[in-house]
């Protein structure tokens, strides 16, 4: 499984749409096996989504994201956990422990009830809808 997180200085980048660096984490059986940071400076949203698909990303954990970007990611078969903020390592640990949807990782203006287990339905997280 491959997880992608847009990053800025070891923090989850505030807005997915404006992020230009992407952390890729490969994991097996809930354990991180490899990580790699890549340039993600595509200008257009469809190009960003296509890049995510080309990279074989299964799950995108990101900060704020525009509605069209969110819809495109979801329709390309990539699971998404948006409106997450905080230190990347803390976020990953919380994800593997199944407790990412914790108020301390949620951006302001987001409620836990806003999250819906739309795809994947893993413990403590899932898809999202507005």
């Amino acid at each position: 499984m491959r997880i992608a997180i847009p990053v800025c200085d070891n923090q989850v980048a505030t807005v997915m749409d404006f992020a230009d660096r992407l952390l890729l984490i490969d994991c097996e059986a809930g354990q991180e096996t490899r990580r790699n940071i890549i340039d993600f400076a595509q200008k257009l949203v469809p190009a960003k989504v296509a890049r995510l698909a080309d990279l074989g990303v299964n799950l995108l954990i990101c900060g704020a994201i525009s509605r069209p970007f969110f819809a495109m990611v979801l329709h390309s078969g990539i699971e998404i956990i948006p409106f997450i903020s905080g230190n990347v390592d803390d976020v990953l640990i919380a994800y593997f422990r199944g407790c990412l949807v914790d108020p301390r990782f949620l951006m302001p203006g987001c409620r836990v009830g806003q999250y819906w287990g739309r795809r994947g339905r893993r413990r403590g997280h899932g898809g999202f809808r507005w």
Binding site: T14, D17, P108
Partner: protein, 452 residues
Amino acid sequence: MTEGTKRHIDLILDSIPDGIFTVDLGWKITSFNRAAEEITGILKEDAIGRTCREVLRASCCEQDCPLKEARQTKRAVVNRIVSIIDAKGEGRSINICAALLRDEREKVIGGVETFRDIGSVEDMRDKMARGYSCQDILSVNHKMRQIFDILPAIADSISTVLIEGETGTGKELFAKAIHNLSPRRAKSFIAVNCGALPDTLLESELFGYEAGAFTDAKRDKPGRFNLAEGGTIFLDEIGDISPALQVRLLRVLQERTYEPLGSVKSIKTDVRVIAATNKSLEKLVQEEEFRKDLYYRLNVIKIEIPPLRERKEDIPLLADHFIARFNQIQKKDITGITDDALAYLMKYDFPGNIRELENIIERAFILCGAGQIERRHLPELYGQDTPYLAYGTKRKPNTLKEIEAAFLMRVLEKNKWNRAKTAEDLGIHKSTLFRKIKALGLDVPRSKRVKT
């Protein structure tokens, strides 16, 4: 600060239509007004205590933070246009200003950001999609939008383009747009004003020279064609070049080769030529001042840019555009133009076209400190021969009949009193025009012959 004073300050902040928030030295939000809640979609209680980047979610937050800049430069940052993603996931554009907060001893205790919603990104995309802009060119006029539609196809071809338009209509912008849309965009765009250089100098500028070609030519100098290799050369005021240079240019267009001054070797060139003129080349050909064969070589694709007086619907859009641009350049906060001032501009014919409108707005920026540009900030635009004065008088027309008379006289004068051409211009039959002239009692001078 007492609780009462704090509540009073909050009331004041909430009554301001611009979004305002303050942060402490750790970038944590300490106050957040009602307009900020509306623009970001985030409630005050959710925002307080969180970092400003988590709340504002702007394109500038991580690399170009205005508050950081204000802290580093110790100066306020004003009128920066950035995009944000609100709580609903909608992209919006905001105009943002940032400044430092200091205590009574001038010690920095945080920062304040004010921001104004400019509109949703979708609105802007809609405008773009409806063809209101192409590269840096803005227009809502149907003729201009027809040009926008064909511009990508023109850019894709390798054909020579001739752009005709009055001075100040933005011929170079069109040439740049063609270059930027073309597969040649990675290579150079070289603009040459053919009217600005004497003939001999223009020749050496275009084709370059070799050492020893003339006195003081100590080294080889590449010409503009050489610099534009693989890209685009824009030859402005092409109607002003001499017959001798016309022949040399014709050879470049036909053979795709040229010789630098003093050289015996031909150089092959792969440059796309875009020529422009504010004259009618066809007319110059008829008057035998421009070579017919060169005209046909240049006139493979012709773009005629309508003057601003024929697309007055663009004036509000262009005025807004220039106001936004001068706000950024001059670090001002002019909020727009009053209806009265805009109506005054709309009545003017702009012989200098868009450049003249730009100059008028620039002048208004000097006179207008803040708020909106008003009529008093604009120059006196109308002379006594304006069509909006009753013809032959210095007063404004009072009646519909006088307005019609003034308008007819203006069009007749433009067509050198030729009734047939005037009727054609107005889209009415010649006999209708004669009837109107008679009914309005116009004293129309005899016609000077105009080719129709």
